[in-house]
């Protein structure tokens, strides 16, 4: 079995996001592998280590040249090889699922792992759209995963709680917190990763056409009152807060 693990490069959670000419500008921002995608990379490695018949683990990134860093990190964590569809254009998740589906087919992949919600688009669509293009089932928000032959079992979150599931490969699994604790690449593995294959694909071969345009982007600066109440006298502070909630914010009776 070959596993495809998707890697998106996003701003570090603590990085400040800038807007330039009404678009998000990532120049100078600290960029990292999306944390949710990292759970997917780790899970692929663990499935192999747990004895599942994993032939190859392939990491895929679609995006600007700097995405190589995210792929090198995935290679250093232990994936076997990487594919980079290098493009400066911004595509929506449903459009990008075309690339994912085509690569899954040409690379003979039977399991795709992708983060449940990417920290740049705040989108949950890539896994589901890829599954639909391939005609595969999907398991989203997965926090436990086992493979026995062709059978996937595990647990995932749903609207009102969580479910345990069983499905048969091929499938798409979206990953999240709780699934595992991603490993740090060791120095020897970082050195080894430099010799691993990082193939460049031409985006033109995938026939991409963005269907969603970004018209405008603004930093959220909702004005907050920032009214501080002195906490030295707890009773007085509690009274004052409740009074503000009643009379000014009008949120309690």
């Amino acid at each position: 079995m070959n596993i495809l693990t998707l890697v998106r490069q996003v701003p570090d959670a603590e990085a400040r996001v800038k807007i330039n000419a009404q678009q998000v500008d990532l120049e100078g921002a600290t960029l990292v592998i999306d944390g949710m995608d990292e759970y997917g990379v780790e899970e692929a490695l663990r499935l192999r280590e747990s004895g599942a018949a994993v032939e190859q683990i392939i990491a895929l990134a679609i995006g600007p040249k700097r995405n190589e860093d995210a792929l090198r990190t995935a290679l250093a964590m232990g994936v076997d090889r990487a594919i980079h569809v290098e493009t400066e254009d911004r595509f929506d998740a449903v459009t990008l699922s075309r690339v994912v589906a085509q690569i899954a087919q040409t690379e003979n992949v039977s399991l795709i792992l992708v983060g449940g919600q990417e920290a740049d688009w705040d989108s949950q669509a890539l896994g589901a759209a890829s599954a639909e293009r391939l005609g595969w089932p999907q398991l989203t928000w997965t926090n436990e995963l086992n493979i026995d032959g062709e059978t996937l079992t595990g647990r995932h979150d749903v609207d009102d709680g969580n479910e345990t599931f069983r499905a048969t490969l091929p499938a798409v699994v979206t990953t999240q917190q709780g699934l595992n604790e991603p490993r740090y690449p060791t120095l020897p593995n970082i050195m080894k990763a430099k010799k691993k294959e990082l193939r460049k694909d031409d985006p033109a071969t995938y026939g991409l056409q963005a269907r969603v345009r970004t018209v405008n982007a603004e930093i959220q600066t909702r004005a907050r009152l920032n009214r501080m109440i002195d906490g030295k006298d707890p009773q007085a502070a509690a009274q004052q807060l409740l009074e503000l909630l009643r009379s000014e914010a009008k949120v309690i009776a």
């Binding site: 740049d120 969603v212 509690a238």
Partner: protein, 316 residues
């Protein structure tokens, strides 16, 4: 027509469905507003739906007794095609955002995800949505014979009843067999109001100190205020509270009228889940905690003293 897939639980129409009706009315898209009710034994839901929509399409089938992404996507896409819908609106719940992309692919439609506002600009449908862990508000647009949209819960006012109840029609569907087998389910029940529907939420972070303090302070205050109970990721990771209470990027997104954060430091991932609350109240002994930057009201002080005082005062 504008096709909305109704969300409902326990035989009742969900508030999110009424919000989607408002989103449809606000969208500037023309044509009748049609609610699609998928489920089993949903006659009551369909009647409720008829009070807010121009027409209601009902698929009352045993295969629809429980939600499944592939089945819901197939049903929605089939009805959208047969009804020549130009706009398909689906709830921005976990399940809605799971099957909506499949509908978009089936219809070869552009997909506007998790919209907080909708408007028309010529032939284009424009949506506002939050990105970059909700630090940025983007306006995106798409055109096409049909567009699929999900609507973020809590972003639109619930629609009131229309003057005349819409007509109800039964629909026939060709559905695929579900390929994911659910082997067990754990429903996280709470006697308190659901986080995504609560007007007031009291959330505890690691600063609360212990699971016992969480019960005493967070639940104690929430019960006095009739509020929902939330928790930060750190608290859930530590095993103090169930995941169902987690607010943030990997948990729930909420926007109550008042969000009371006790001992919460305010990591970006947490802010992305609650930063759109109307009023944010923070109590923390660390004056440098980032949560104070987004707070409307803040108290720097000891929870052990302030929260009991707050619980006592809120009883009266």
């Amino acid at each position: 027509m504008i096709l909305i897939v109704a969300e409902h639980t326990a035989g009742k129409l969900a508030k999110s469905t009424l919000e989607m009706v408002t989103a449809a009315r606000d969208s500037g898209r023309e044509g009748p507003i049609t609610l699609l009710v998928l489920g089993q034994s949903v006659a009551g839901v369909a009647t409720e739906a008829a009070s807010v929509a121009d027409q209601v399409l009902v698929a009352d089938l045993p295969q629809l007794a429980t939600y499944n992404a592939e089945v819901w996507a197939a049903a929605t896409a089939q009805i959208a095609q047969e009804g020549e819908a130009h706009t398909v609106i689906i709830g921005g719940s976990r399940s809605g955002r799971e099957y909506a992309p499949r509908v978009a692919v089936k219809l070869d439609a552009p997909y506007l995800e998790d919209a907080t506002r909708l408007s028309s600009n010529g032939a284009a449908l424009q949506a506002q949505r939050y990105t970059y862990l909700a630090r940025v508000t983007e306006t995106v647009e798409a055109e096409g014979p049909v567009i699929v949209v999900t609507v973020k819960p809590g972003s639109f006012a619930p629609a009131g009843a229309a003057g005349v109840a819409g007509d109800q029609y039964d629909v026939e569907l060709t559905l695929p067999a579900p390929r994911v087998e659910v082997t067990g389910k754990s429903v996280e029940k709470s006697s308190r109001v659901a986080l995504t529907e609560a007007d007031v939420i009291v959330t505890g972070g690691r600063g609360v100190g212990s699971p016992e303090n969480f019960s005493r302070f967070v639940e104690g205050l929430a019960d006095n205020l009739g509020a929902g109970v939330g928790a930060t990721r750190a608290v859930v990771d530590a095993g103090w509270r169930p995941y169902a209470e987690q607010v943030g990027q990997t948990g729930k997104t909420v926007q109550p009228k008042a969000y009371i954060a006790l001992g919460v430091s305010g990591a970006v991932q947490h802010l992305s889940g609650m930063g759109k609350s109307k009023n944010i109240i923070a109590i923390n002994k660390d004056a440098e905690a980032p949560i104070f930057k987004v707070a409307d009201y803040g108290i720097v002080g000891d929870l052990n003293e302030i929260v009991p005082a707050l619980i006592e005062a809120s009883k009266r």
